[in-house]
């Protein structure tokens, strides 16, 4: 029965990973940019929430009203003024710049907030749980997290499918040059893509900040989890990414059950297995176009 418990906890955790992963996958889809500072940017979101909670006395959930716009603007500015300048000249410049940003962000956070682990306190909801059977209790907070994750993903899916801007993103993803010929200002569009990606990452960062503690150095681990969810799920599919996040979550909770040191490793091993046996991802039928 413990297995069932682990699977349920893992699925709930997976929603959160999927939120992280979606941001990564949007910016890769639209501008072929792999952002090595992705995890660190999510840590910034958690610290912005921390400041909102500490200084303004906001509830962590309510802090999202502040954190999401802040990250949206940060994303727009970062793309507009820094990353847009890396897009000519192959894959090396964006990689180097985002890697440099990762180091800058980690050390700035370290300088401002110290290396101590911090957490966001959401109060009683963190411990409340529904007891399904004597062995299986499902926490309200993890459930809320999954509901929020699915809602955000569904919203993004609708946005990409039904709105003109969403179509612009997909058109740019298909053929950047042809999209420009339609009158699309690709620099503006790219900046909006990173803004939207960081807004979703903001949600993920705050929820993860409530769930576990964070410190300035946890960004790379989060980048890796997000990345694994994307690859396990298969590139270019939001629901695939959700499934990928869930597979990763389940692997980690089951790994943790075997030995605490194996949690992360189990996730990595599932990722490597997917790479060997299903390089296009578990949930994509055909080869990626």
């Amino acid at each position: 029965m413990d297995l069932l418990n682990n699977v349920v906890q893992g699925l709930l955790l997976g929603g959160l990973y999927a939120l992280f992963a979606t941001g990564l996958s949007i910016i890769f889809g639209v501008m072929r940019l792999v952002n090595l500072a992705h995890g660190d940017l999510s840590v910034i979101a958690a610290y912005v929430a921390l400041v909102a909670v500490d200084v303004l006395g906001l509830n962590p959930f309510l802090s999202l009203v502040l954190v999401v716009p802040v990250m949206f603007i940060l994303g727009y500015g970062l793309q507009r003024f820094v990353l847009n300048h890396t897009l000519e000249g192959g894959p090396m410049p964006p990689l180097l710049v985002t890697f440099g940003l990762s180091i800058i962000i980690q050390n700035l956070l370290l300088e401002i907030f110290s290396a101590d682990s911090r957490g966001l306190d959401a109060g009683r909801i963190e411990d409340a749980a529904i007891t399904v059977t004597s062995r299986l209790a499902v926490g309200w907070f993890p459930m809320l997290t999954l509901v929020v994750a699915v809602t955000v993903l569904a919203g993004l899916q609708l946005f990409l499918e039904r709105t003109q801007l969403g179509r612009g993103f997909r058109a740019t993803s298909d053929d950047q040059r042809a999209a420009q010929l339609m009158g699309i200002d690709n620099r503006h569009l790219y900046s909006l893509a990173l803004a939207i990606a960081l807004a979703t990452v903001a949600v993920a960062g705050v929820f993860l900040g409530i769930r576990t503690t964070f410190s300035p150095s946890v960004g790379p681990t989060r980048l890796i989890f997000a990345y694994e969810a994307v690859i396990i799920g298969g590139l270019g599919s939001l629901w695939g990414t959700l499934a990928g996040g869930m597979v990763l979550g389940v692997a980690q909770t089951i790994g943790a059950q075997l030995s605490p040191g194996w949690a992360v490793l189990a996730g990595h091993l599932v990722f490597l297995a997917v790479l060997v046996f299903r390089p296009n991802g578990l949930f994509i039928r055909q080869a990626a176009v």
Partner: protein, 232 residues
Amino acid sequence: MSLLSLTDINSRYGTFQALFGVELRVDEGEIVAVIGANGAGKSTMLKTVVGIMRSPTGEVRFAGRPVGHLPVHQRVSLGMSLVPEGRRVFPSLTVRENLLVGGWVKRPGPWTVTKILQLFPLLERRIDHPAGNLSGGEQQALAIGRGLMANPRLLMLDEVSLGLAPIVVRHLYAAIPAIVEAGTTILIVEQDIGQALSVADRVYCFLEGKVALSGRPRELTREQIAAAYFGV
């Protein structure tokens, strides 16, 4: 008044100069064709007009103002539309979505999705299919329709006939009078000389990056055109 005029255009790819002092003019309501062999600089000229490439010298004027310093998307907003060589439809978007993205720049004018489907009825039954699944001819019709969705004053067509069966090409060219009638000026780049001369009011022949010949099709002789085309 001329809608588009190029003076002293010398576009280059790095160290390779593709155009040499090109002068060209398109008047409102005209159909102008640019013919020439592969590598003569025809596509480079279109890229320079739309802003994918820039000429270090000279001037590109559109609708009475210099546009040489503007980025592509601003030139498109001013009312020029390029249907690129190789069609380049958005393969993962449906036909309808391709057309809607074509209307990204909202300029007033007659063209809507419905009007495009009347112009190219073959697209009707494919409307919700991904454009990547379309045949070459259907994709070319879609690319032209997508270019019209912005209601451009000038529609530029780059090698419409490339890789298509003659009957398909005739079908596509049959749509051109309707486009002109709706108030759009057309600049065609074409390797298929016969097709180009049959619709054009005026023609330019490019040879090795230069304008080798220009005039009205009826006033040019076969020999003149052959000489300008092949450089013999």
